[in-house]
Amino acid sequence: MSDETGFFLLLMSNGLLIGLMYALIALGFVLVYKATDAVNFAQGEFVMISGILVAAALGVWGAPLWLAVALGIGTMIVFGFGLERVMLRKLIGRPVIAVVMATIGLASILRGIGPTAFGAGSRPLPLPISDAPFVIGPLFIPPIQLVGGLVSLLFLTGFGWFFVKSRKGIAMRAVADNQQVAMAMGINVQRYFGLAWAMAGLVSALGGIIWGSSVGVDVNLALVGLKVFPVVILGGLDSIPGAVVGGLIVGVVENIAAGYVDPYVGGGTKDFAPYVLMILVLMIRPYGIFGKKIIERV
């Protein structure tokens, strides 16, 4: 195998794995949108705050790993429920910009709370996963990305099952489809909204742990949230498989851009390429690859 082919394969494997890690963050976003039609611009901050919490539990309070992880997940689930109750319930039926802005406000609060409560310094979030990569032929597979990818796929199948088969999942789809009819059918809409936010909290907690372990924990961890938008738009805002496929596309496009476009442009096209692709997709399929086709057109 020539060097070039090997390098190409490396880029691809790296793109696919990192794409699954993006999908993990995008899942939280999609879950909320699917169930409640609300958008969460604070997704990155959710990830950041849970990462900080787990790292602080491990590093400062010396908790064992299982307890720290449980604490992170538990807190985020409670936080999701609470958030719905305190803030988002009041914004039901308001224009999209109101919810966008409210979550931007929430992001600002979380960015203030993180350093105030736990200190501003960078922290490691050590998981008992080795840094040494698995070497398969020309490929290096870092274990942490493998774990992230597995968690993503696990959630994909888990939530897929939940929405298609379980009673609660079907109710949640009904709520998302038409709140008034769902209410008339005796579904407690508000409870399901809370549940959706709690699920988003759960996914964010795991995202925070895995990303935090990968890049270290501080306020800048929230910036992974910016990666979410091309992912969810490409995949379709309300599609769980879409989040995964969107993640994979963004991961691969980024790596191709960095490997083959950057040398000719002399600048980083990596973050820019997914957005260009996103605009193109929006022009052709405004509802994304897997999204519901009921986009309003003018």
Partner: protein, 355 residues
């Protein structure tokens, strides 16, 4: 406005739509003019004028964004990028052609309007959240282009120094000079917006916001008016960018990043969507909020806490209060400061009688 409107009976649509709704309004405006053009600049220290200048710049930008978001109902997270387009257009003109500032101001605005209209094209096909994210992409793409095309950015530092503007032979350099310079444009922007929104164009914008399909049926060319809204809003943004560039003496793209777009959105939401007074109040509020929080913390925080703790706490508290206030306004007073102001006015209108 601040006056009581007893005994006014309007008998025609023209009177109802007039810029001055009441005869006495002319007097109110006159008094305000004296306060802003004479009392404030002459009585206050340069430091406070520098804050006022930041407010004025924000007012113009917020007015522009409100035309798009508040009046036409199209969400945009790319306002900061349009400002940078104006800023770099002006900076390039002044360094390459040595053109005078009125030309640069106009050119910056027009260039931003053109770019804004292009970024607005997706609005013809998508709306709501999808549009918001498309404009976010516009913001990132414009940032990237300015950052990488050295013809625009003037070198790897992506910053172009700009000489101070001259009025005749007078160089406008102190904060007081800048205050007057900017205030003129604030007045122009406010009057321009007031006139725009009560004109045919403004009514078309509002119709599109309220019910776009109905608007199309009554004969409004949605395609044209949506792009026009993007163009006008971006023109304001471009002018803001040019003024900011003259204010600082440098064009630098790092001053127009995504956080700026979000701050402007916060201004119009806190101030009140679809309201001129709201844009002004929102710009004042968001610009002053961090300063007031800091000054009060510096004054009172030392009473309870260690000085080092206070220094660490002030900025984080500011972040939290900023977020909390935005959420507070969204939840409790969705129509923003503008509505609050009207509530207070209505209270005093019948004061001291409760009913």
């Amino acid at each position: 406005m601040i006056h009581r409107e007893c005994g006014v009976l309007k008998t025609s649509y023209a009177a109802d739509m007039a810029l001055y709704p009441l005869p006495i309004a002319k007097w109110t405006v006159g008094v305000l003019a004296v306060i802003f053009f004479a009392v404030i600049p002459l009585a206050l220290h340069e430091y406070y004028l520098s804050i006022a200048n930041l407010v004025w710049i924000a007012v113009i930008g917020a007015l522009g964004l409100n035309i798009l978001v508040g009046y036409t109902g199209q969400v945009s997270i790319g306002h900061g990028a349009f400002m940078s387009v104006g800023a770099y257009t002006a900076a390039n003109l002044v360094t390459r052609l040595d053109s005078p500032w009125p030309v640069n101001l106009l050119a910056g605005g027009l260039m931003a309007a053109a770019v804004g209209a292009v970024v607005g094209i997706p609005s013809l096909r998508i709306k709501g959240l999808y549009l918001a994210i498309a404009t976010l992409a516009g913001q990132l793409i414009i940032e990237w282009i300015i950052n990488h095309v050295t013809f625009i950015s003037g070198g790897v530092q992506a910053s172009i120094p700009v000489p101070r503007p001259y009025l005749g032979t007078m160089e406008l350099s102190s904060q007081r000079d800048m205050y007057y310079f900017l205030l003129v444009f604030v007045v122009l922007a406010i009057v321009g917006t007031l006139n725009l929104v009560r004109s045919r164009i403004g009514r078309a914008f509002i119709a599109i916001r309220d019910q776009d399909i109905a608007a199309e049926i009554i004969g409004i060319d949605i395609f044209r008016y949506k792009l026009l809204a993007f163009a006008i809003s971006s023109f304001y943004a471009g002018v803001t960018g040019v003024l900011y560039t003259y204010f600082l003496g440098i064009a630098n793209y790092e001053q127009f990043q995504i956080g700026v777009s979000i701050d402007y959105l916060a201004m119009i939401i806190v101030g009140g969507l679809g309201s001129v007074l709201g844009s002004v109040l929102g710009a004042i509020f968001i610009t002053l909020l961090p300063i007031v929080i800091r000054l009060s913390m510096e004054a009172f925080g030392g009473l309870f806490l260690e000085p080092q703790t206070v220094l660490n706490l002030i900025p984080n508290l500011r972040l939290m209060m900023f977020g909390a206030l935005i959420i507070f306004f969204l939840v409790v007073e969705p129509d923003g400061l503008n509505r609050l102001w009207r509530n207070i006015r209505n209270y005093f209108r019948i004061w001291p009688f409760a009913y």
